[in-house]
Subunit: 727 residues, 2 copies
């Protein structure tokens, strides 16, 4: 391929590479910073903010090495670049027309991005076209490699689109006209999107760093990405319990009653989320306790802790004039206001010090467990404009792409890790290299099917997604939503406006309680899944395409039909199978939702799959139908052959009570299986210093178990029950 | 206000102005190129393509002078700029929070743009956010001025949004929390969009030219814009007759039969549109006659002309390898293909010569009347990427913004004006300064209500919109769509895929024929309305907000209701009254559409308004209900007091037959009225040399008429009937 450089008069120094093709593949541009990981630096990469600059932890080089040898996925020289006269920098990555491209962060409708143009920008995903709360510029190819555009700028990506006039592999032209001999006016077999064999990414920046991850499988590619970005986050055990956010202006008394009501209804509770009313002022915010609502925050927080309930505080970053630190913060804020509040520039150390000192003093030091960081995503009509300026010199664009990450990393590092205490919280925007950040994303959209797709999409880009339940039109919807919630990275009910409780719909209170209890019983399995995220980069909840044996070809293809009023280009449609996902190594989750509220189809991958509840054999590489009735209103869960699932023998009211509790082991399939249970102190960062252990448990088909524990802290009790779940 | 400049290290020379506030208002930056028109040059404006560079005609300075004196609408020093570190150039125009902002081209849902962020880019309007087939960067304020950002780049505009931290006029903060004394969790009277008093426009460019037009009324602002952009277009008279596009692969025989069928059904026809099948190949195109379908194009074209029917040829610009001029064009094409066709760079003279010579030889010289230029708009997945390069050095971005205009201007100038023959055609993208271009816009969307809004929106930005009819689900819809079509800049049925005819729905064939006949009878009034567009800048079809006495406050405001699942910010909604519009000086059109298919409400502006058909007094400054039944299935038309409407005494089968035909005059109201009828040769550019005349006709309430004709060519016959339409 021919390289094509057009240098603008004013930007002669912008690009370090030149027109000589070989230059791109010399040591000057290429590095291999970790096993199976290659880095290409184009132009002045130091002039631009990279997502990896904001990663919470350093690359886990040893773990990357353990993944084994890997080879570069294509010819380096096949990568080419253009620097346009108007300052845009493009990199072209080869990609066969028949490869499937997945990823690009929190895409909520589809996870496949072949034949799409995406403008990756932090914004509400409903705007479409690549805008989303977490537009991670990372894609994974079905051929087993991943590409990460490591730049905190608006990035536009043309996936398998854009034929170049000088390319040698363009398909032949097809006449859209029918042959003259043909009667009638229907056009020929022409297609609106000709095959193209590249991904072209363009950014208006001085430099661009591209990272390429190799892998034998797509999962291995994801693992490499996560490990390079610091490893997946390991939340405190309490973060994996049940969360409930109270209405926006609840006071202390109402909060205490809410907690008591949970106990009265026998519903587990680990975290109570306070919405804006805890502050003296919101939109813009003061971050200071409203003492008429909360007369003694410390006593309240400690009382809650003594009941095993932690507090999570809502905030958005926009600071009111009434905040005590406003005057000191003012010079460190950007040129524009959001909801009339100043926008602190947390790239500035003084700004970080001001907010973290205040937060530590007023919240964390009295026992607050973490934050929900709202509205760091968009829309444009709310946030600072693209021409806003910030004291650190960071562009408005890069601030938009990273504000959510900046907040996450600042809180993680300066408020919690500094004090050797883990946190787990929520944030409404994230981006590349976020794997190690202990935050889940959420959205103001409320489509259950999209919420389920979000779980899969998040797993492809080092982020976590919470399909929070806010309310429902009826008991069936409420149950289905809470079931999905309980099989997600954060099991949360967000009733800030509805005041809904788990027992709001009486007709489903029992199965709602049952699924929350099931989540609690599965804490050993769930916690170990997160440990695998941290240690091996394996996401705890995963898109089916990462599961070996899943036939993605089962996605439904709807051929396009010409209609001048609705479809003049006869465009087809692909309905992807993203309504089921993997949880941990062994469990497949297929929630009921929307029209599929009590009957739905499930695609079983290759291998033998069993019903989680009964052990009944369900099939192998086939599509089955399941009903709520046969499952007694429980969420459909399937376990694959050769799996061992550790659970608490019974549910607990919060994660504190899980410590030391005995285990039930379930064996699915007819073979001896092994499980490696992770244990640590559940709440400090000592695990980063090796203070953890694995208990390797083996179970034979006749229920005999043996166990080997490594050195380190114990967490759960003994295995007291074994169930052979095979019928 | 304080000016804030941040200079990037690499762009020291980019901005001609400096940090001294007074500089922006000195003669260096400000010019007054025409009466009531001010120009502000920021940075290196010559480095960027301006829309006015592509205007088809020069500013009509004399006509601008005639509009009378005007004063600059605000303090020049209130305009400020920012040049950001990442190369963005922002200009901030003062704008009170209570001003209403209209315009920005073909916005199809609303014409008001207050409190919106728009990213103006040529694309399909369905993508939203400012993307549209004609994203004219021009807005009009209810305070009587207009601002035109004269740059062919993607432009982002923040309308009355974005409070600056150092602004002195920010509203006070409002606490979203309710007071602690308040029980329950409902938030306070906070609003999600605080008042802001500026329009901020930002472009990633080396320079930006801003034009400011003054006016006593919003209409006068629009007139100034149009006159500065060369005056509105004056189509040939035949362009205002009835158009019909045949199915995509019709051959000569089928076309001849179609024309005969129109005659048989007694339906007027001026233009027959041929879709892709006329070419040897389409998508990509050859631009050469498919001689198996059209064995003798010249004879066919001439035969059609002899029947008074002109041909319009579909094309898109993307050139096939099979085109005879392909090899010569190849070096003048951009780096990327569209549908595998090369994309000629028509900024290059050789490319223009190649295509216009071929088009003239093969089409225009044998009698073809014009073109439909398709697919010059988007989507991104079809057109060239933002990093494509073009031989002229024009950026991909500027090419995207102007390709439709480039084509229009090239055809207008080199194919038609050069040969002193007018044309009228269709194009799927246009942009700023397009007033003088004889093309109407259309879209693949097919919402009737949006099509009606499009007529209004177009009038605010020097463009024309065709609400073409393609098909319908039933006779009522068909009738309603064709009625709208007949009261628009181009009365066209586009049956390329459906094969629909005016008589397809037998139950409505009579009223369909009637409204097409009414269009033909109104040709004298319609043609004069276009002459007013050309001479005075008054759009022939206009948004109601340009009509004095229209109470825009009648728009429906729906207050926002908090709902955590659907509306968490309690955002309100404004339903604008854009389902009616003005036609010429006197007629208001209020089509039936969608749910309002046979009964609808109409807002009558201040003044007395009469039914067009019966002369019945309908009201003054009030909202009325009209039904299809009372109107005998005719489109609702209202005429204002003191109006004289000239019509042909009877319909004609095409515009050729209108020449020399006698006139009927209708007087509405109880006062003596005057009308100035425009006449010229209907098809050459001699009118630009003053070869036209006005016939000033006066009619008293008792029906006495007097007439004074200027020098110049005659067009219509005598006034032989006078009707006093006042009951």
């Amino acid at each position: 391929m021919k390289l094509f450089f057009l240098f603008a008069g004013l930007s002669l120094s912008l690009l370090a590479v030149n027109g000589d093709k070989s230059d791109l593949t010399t040591a000057n541009n290429w590095q291999e910073p970790a096993a199976g990981t290659w880095k290409l630096e184009l132009g002045e990469t130091d002039a631009e903010l990279r997502y990896t600059d904001l990663a919470a932890e350093k690359p886990r080089l040893e773990a990357l090495k353990k993944l084994g040898p890997a080879k570069f996925p294509f010819t380096k020289s096949a990568i080419s670049t253009i620097k346009t006269a108007d300052g845009k920098l493009m990199v072209r990555i080869p990609c066969d027309a028949d490869e499937k491209i997945y990823g690009f962060g929190l895409q909520m409708k589809n996870i496949k991005s072949s034949k799409k143009v995406l403008e990756l920008k932090v914004d509400h995903w409903k705007l479409g076209g690549g805008k989303t709360h977490a537009p991670v510029p990372f894609y994974i190819s079905s051929k087993g490699y991943g590409v990460f555009f490591n730049t905190a700028r608006y990035l536009k990506v043309y996936n398998q689109l854009g034929n170049r006039k000088d390319a040698l592999d363009n398909p032949p032209e097809v006449d859209r006209n029918p042959p003259p001999s043909q009667k009638g006016s229907q056009p020929g077999p022409w297609q609106a999107l000709p095959a193209a064999s590249a991904v072209e990414a363009v950014v208006d920046a001085q430099g661009l760093e591209v990272l390429i991850f190799s892998g034998d499988t797509m999962l291995e590619v994801v693992q490499r990405y996560n490990l390079y970005c610091g490893g997946g986050t390991l939340p405190p055990l309490w973060g994996l319990g049940f969360w409930h956010r109270v209405p926006a202006a609840f006071n202390e008394e109402e909060c205490r009653k809410e907690v008591a009501d949970f106990a009265k209804h026998d519903i587990p509770l680990d975290v109570l989320g306070l919405e804006p009313g805890w502050m003296t002022k919101s939109y813009p915010c003061t971050f200071e306790w409203q003492t008429e609502r909360f007369p003694d925050p410390k006593k309240f927080t400690q009382d809650m802790l003594s009941q095993g309930v932690r507090l999570n505080l809502w905030e958005n970053p926009y600071m009111s004039k009434d905040a005590k630190i406003y005057k000191d913060m003012y010079p460190h804020a950007g040129s524009h206001l959001v909801w009339l509040g100043i926008v602190p520039d947390y790239n500035v150390q003084e700004a970080r010090d001001l907010i973290t000192e205040q937060h530590y003093r007023d919240h964390v030091s009295i026992g607050v467990s973490g934050y929900k960081v709202d509205e760091v995503d968009g829309y444009d009509h709310w946030l600072w404009p693209d021409h806003a300026t910030f004291p650190s010199g960071t562009s408005a664009e890069s601030m938009r792409q990273t504000y959510g990450m900046l907040m996450q990393k600042m809180f993680y590092t300066d408020l919690f890790k500094k004090h050797n205490t883990r946190t787990y919280g929520l944030v409404r925007s994230s981006n590349g290299a976020a794997s190690a950040l202990p935050y889940v994303l959420y959205s103001d959209s409320y489509s259950h099917s999209e919420y389920i797709t979000g779980i899969s999409a998040a797993s492809l880009g080092g982020i976590l997604w919470s399909p929070e339940a806010r309310g429902a039109r009826n008991g069936r919807e409420w149950l289905n939503r809470i079931q999905t919630v309980c099989f997600s990275p954060m099991a949360m009910l967000n009733a800030w406006a509805t005041g809904a409780k788990p027992w709001t719909f009486k007709d489903v209170t029992d199965p709602v309680r049952e699924v929350i209890n099931l989540r609690m019983r599965l804490l050993p399995y769930l916690y170990t899944s997160f440990a695998d995220y941290h240690l091996k980069g394996i996401p705890p909840f995963r898109a089916m395409i990462l599961e070996q044996g899943f036939d993605e070809g089962q996605s439904k293809v709807i051929a396009g039909k010409l209609d001048s009023e609705t479809n003049p280009y006869a465009m087809g449609q692909i309905i992807e199978k993203t309504d089921q996902y993997m949880f941990g190594p062994s469990i497949m989750v297929a929630p009921f939702y929307e029209e599929q509220h009590s009957v739905r189809s499930v695609r079983l991958p290759a291998g033998n799959w069993y019903c989680f509840y009964t052990g009944k054999f369900m099939g192998n590489n086939k599509t089955i139908k399941v009903t709520a009735k046969e499952l007694k209103d429980r969420i459909p869960l399937f376990v694959k052959e050769g799996s061992l699932i550790p659970m608490l023998t019974k549910s607990v009211n919060n994660s504190r009570d899980a410590v030391g509790k005995d285990l039930e082991l379930r064996l699915y399939g007819k073979k001896t299986a092994t499980y490696s249970l992770y244990e640590d102190d559940t709440k400090t960062f000592d695990y980063l210093k090796g203070q953890y252990r694995h208990r390797t448990i083996t179970c034979t088909p006749d229920g005999k178990i043996s166990e080997q524990a490594g050195k380190g802290p114990a967490l759960f009790g003994k295995v007291t029950q074994v169930k052979i779940m095979t019928k």
